[in-house]
Symmetry: C2
Subunit: 258 residues, 2 copies
């Protein structure tokens, strides 16, 4: 595709990830906006572009404006932004596209991925969920996503919210249960990395079988002796004990449904 002129608002992990992909794949990052001059300058230096801290100085003739900021800040930036004809888009899974509606051309460009400062993502290709205010922009943004090595999917705000909810279970909640497991190990002074081969293998399995088929453990075996022993071991942490019991019940009820 032809090279696009892109302005990014935001200096966080999502902004940085997209800046890297855009510049690596021949697009022009013409400007970055952030109200904090130190952050904006560091980001601009990293990607060899210009920065502005005042929204009035944002270049009005870019092809695309990527607003990659906290959910709560999107509407405010969108409302202040003045553009000639570019597409204004945000990157949030849970914010509706219509917060950008004051712009003639608006879109959502939501990466179904988790980003951390300083860690390059191991999964180079991941899904990008696209929603466009105007149908005629769909092909341009689909092309843009593909041009930076991502897998574009067209989804409206309702669909994106449904995928985002699933992602909370698959990513945020999964991470929390690993955190609990690590806390349990640390409380007894066992090295947490003992659990890593098990965790990695659990995920590796999913290339071959569904998680429904892969379910193992005392809950799915209805191993009441072990379950009672575990509940007893958790008796000093009522919140965790309740969580253990509720999840065990949920595993067993879902098994019965199958």
């Amino acid at each position: 595709m032809k090279s696009l002129n892109i302005v990014i608002a935001g200096c966080g992990n999502v902004a940085g990830h997209f800046a890297e992909r855009f510049t690596q794949h021949g697009h022009q990052l013409v400007q970055v906006y952030h109200p904090d001059n130190i952050k904006a300058s560091a980001f601009a230096a990293r990607f060899k572009t210009k920065c502005v801290c005042n929204m009035n100085e944002i270049f009005a003739a870019a092809d695309v404006y990527l607003i990659a900021v906290k959910d709560q800040a999107i509407a405010n930036i969108a409302n202040q932004l003045k553009t000639e004809h570019g597409i204004v888009m945000h990157t949030s899974g849970s914010v509706e596209a219509k917060v950008l509606i004051k712009h003639e051309r608006y879109a959502v460009f939501y990466p179904l991925q988790t980003f951390t400062a300083g860690i390059e993502t191991s999964e180079q290709e991941f899904p990008l969920l696209i929603e466009c205010g105007q149908k005629q922009d769909e092909s341009l943004l689909t092309e843009l996503a593909a041009s930076i090595g991502l897998k574009p999917f067209l989804m409206n705000s309702k669909q994106r919210a449904e995928v985002h909810l699933a992602a909370v279970f698959a990513c945020n909640f999964v991470n929390h249960f690993i955190a609990i497991a690590f806390d349990l190990m640390q409380s007894k002074n066992y090295p947490t990395n003992l659990l890593m081969p098990l965790i990695k293998e659990s995920i590796h399995k999913l290339s071959y079988i569904s998680p429904q088929q892969a379910q193992t453990g005392p809950a799915v075996r209805h191993d009441d002796l072990v379950i009672e022993k575990h509940i007893h071991m958790l008796q000093d942490d009522i919140a965790l004990k309740n969580l253990y019991q509720l999840i065990t019940k949920h595993i067993q009820e879902n098994q019965q449904k199958d």
Copy 2:
């Protein structure tokens, strides 16, 4: 180390995994026992060894007897087993070593890993938790574990149970939350593999930062608007809605503890 003569009781995934490691690393699998002749024969053919279906025919002069069967069946097999001087050991995370106490030399040989029929484990080296009835057997079993490419750790039954509890959170519960996420995707006809890059990246991160540091999502951000939207989306599934609320609360409370 010198080659050991080993008898395995059981034909499941754990038995198969150990049979493969023992034979690949120069030990002699002298016999496999299983009451079902078809299963025992197939297993024996796979590992080019003999099988017996009657416990009285088990070779009495082996160095090691590995009882790799369901938790509930361990005591019964151990009680019927007659050996001259070999070490009798089971492979369970949650069964105490003392169920083997009728044998002069007994042990636990617990792999901290998950096994699935037909899937070769991606993590070739994983921890093996060892407990011995007699202290003088510790060096032999530690050597045996290392000789088959595993990382031996000496742990008593109480310690093993504590690690096993952590493993339930890190493996069984994590898998269940991925299953829930897949169910949510499937209920809306979205391909579940859209979530895989996100899941793999969540695990990849843990090579760099702790799960406590890696926590993201609406709960840890205290994003009440998104949390309420999600609860509303789950209103037709009361069990899942309760689970979402309880985990969100648990994430927030644990954050406050830090």
